[in-house]
Symmetry: C2
Subunit: 327 residues, 2 copies
């Protein structure tokens, strides 16, 4: 496997000229360009990317952190990013963090190591301070709201999402409303919870602890909520659930245990996963794919214009109620 030097020698030109041909610079004599191309072809020359990376200081690779790969919500965002990335010839380093602080930090470190040009974080375990610290090494975009003064984000308005869901349930006559949330301490969950409580109080109800389910992440978790609901004396008449797949678990298990939906219990979800559509679950939805695309665009802008001073920017996606048959 020859390198650029050998190609230069064989073509009877300098390495700079080969480099120019490789990078499609103009101002190269057509004869020479052709000759270089021919030699490259004949000798199966391929560029060593690592040398290019070292020399240019860029890799055209973006990092993406997400708690788990095998989750429709995240993989839909990922698909949005992947589509845009492919379009701009960027590769994606996809890193599952399992919400581990250390693991996530090791990804942030890739930015410092120049292994990636930028980072998109779907979810975040480390503190805003840590985030700010690493943002000095390269652009970061979060797909959640964050409290830093420098790190931009694109996110769904989770407060609005729950507000819309709650208003809808209340207008349907529900008063005993429960909820399922994901990671208890995430920004997303906190905003959702606040909307839930405010709205419930606004109709004179006091949020009951036994109607609150947190740390629901998998379909299985949704199913367990159903079992727990069955044991309640004062069961809620409606549940607002942060993700469609959890809503799906709740839906199916509640049905199996004999509850009629929506008569005995109404269920409303909060994203746009196919499983929600399949089971015809009402949802307050935003486009995860679109979120991914925006995230890429914001990151890309910042990578291309590294010199510019970037203000913090927040792209907020507004949710829309999609009424189906579970409410």
């Amino acid at each position: 496997m020859p390198n650029i030097k050998e190609i230069a020698k064989l073509a009877g030109v300098s390495v700079s000229t080969v480099s120019r041909v490789l990078n499609n610079h103009k101002y190269v004599n057509e004869q020479k360009r052709a000759k270089v191309l021919q030699i490259i072809e004949e000798h199966n020359y391929v560029q060593n990317s690592n040398a290019v990376h070292l020399s240019t200081g860029k890799t055209k690779v973006l990092g993406v952190t997400l708690p788990m790969v095998n989750n429709q919500y995240y993989s839909t965002i990922l698909e949005g990013i992947a589509a845009e990335a492919a379009h701009h010839d960027y590769k994606l380093m996809v890193c599952q963090t399992n919400n581990s602080l250390e693991h996530e930090r090791s990804i942030l470190q890739l930015l410092a190591n120049k292994k990636i040009d930028g980072l998109i974080m779907f979810s975040r375990a480390n503190s805003c301070d840590t985030l700010t610290e690493y943002a000095e090494y390269g652009p970061i975009i979060t797909c959640e709201a964050n409290d830093t003064t420098t790190v931009s984000s694109v996110h769904i308005d989770h407060y609005q999402t729950f507000l819309i869901g709650m208003e809808y349930l209340i207008q349907k006559g529900h008063r005993r409303i429960g909820y399922c949330l994901g990671r208890k301490n995430s920004f997303n969950s906190q905003h959702r919870k606040r909307a839930y409580e405010e709205k419930l109080r606004s109709v004179g109800m006091t949020p009951a602890p036994e109607w609150a389910f947190e740390d629901c992440v998998t379909i299985q978790d949704g199913m367990e909520v159903a079992s727990k609901l069955m044991q309640l004396e004062n069961r809620p008449t409606a549940m607002i659930v942060s993700c469609n797949h959890i809503a799906a678990g709740l839906y199916k298990e509640a049905s199996r245990l004999g509850l009629n939906i929506p008569q005995d219990i109404a269920i409303i979800g909060c994203d746009d996963q196919p499983i929600g559509e399949l089971l015809e679950i009402t949802t307050v939805s935003s486009s995860s794919n679109r979120m991914g695309r925006y995230a890429f665009e914001m990151l890309h802008e910042r990578i291309v214009n590294q010199g510019k001073v970037w203000e913090k920017e927040e792209q907020v996606l507004l949710p829309v109620l999609v009424e189906r048959n579970s409410t």
Copy 2:
């Protein structure tokens, strides 16, 4: 941001000593090691990965190609790989190919470019010849059977899978059996189809073209199959479906259109997606997660022992029937 040279100067040692400290080599005076570490700390030194990559010829990055990220079957394999990769400190470059020849080829090219140390292909669009050609640049593992003489694979025995499914349906008394397959020309599909036809003929039936559905990839595709089935005069009494999410689409839409399952039509799927479990769809399952783990292990062995001559190896996962309520 200082480099290794400046750290060396500040610590009063040579760059080699700093390098040794960085790479945890033994035979470094404890005093000097401590001093170097201190200077590194004080000056926020971070290694430039690209220089390391160039120098060592390795990146500790693995490529993964899959047709689409947003598919439970693939993301479950991916999760298996991700778990093992994290354990061995490898990063994953995840590339969506959309089954495009060119796009997939551009990923194979990463191997030649030394941007990745090895490649796992969940699915493959390019020819076996192309595969063989690129395998000279670095190890490749496919998660499908392949006809090369050098590229190893770990795959589900799709022939057996369909055979088991067909035997089960036949034993249940079904004779008019139809199928849904994914990409028409993939290896997987061909094996499945062969099992289907052989088994059906073995009970004296002739495969009917109108019972055959190909290029089913999404839930939506499954739903469309249901509509088409409704229009048949001589509708099959059972369907064997290559993926659970397609089976799920078929299941729900068929129900919605008034068919009782399994009385009017039995449905059997062929993997271990959560949606199949949720809808209680009978399936012939293999562990996709395990497949991912094997794939990583095989690839890792080959990367670590690059010198060794590797024979082609095929890890075959045997499927198991999981009986549920759709048959």
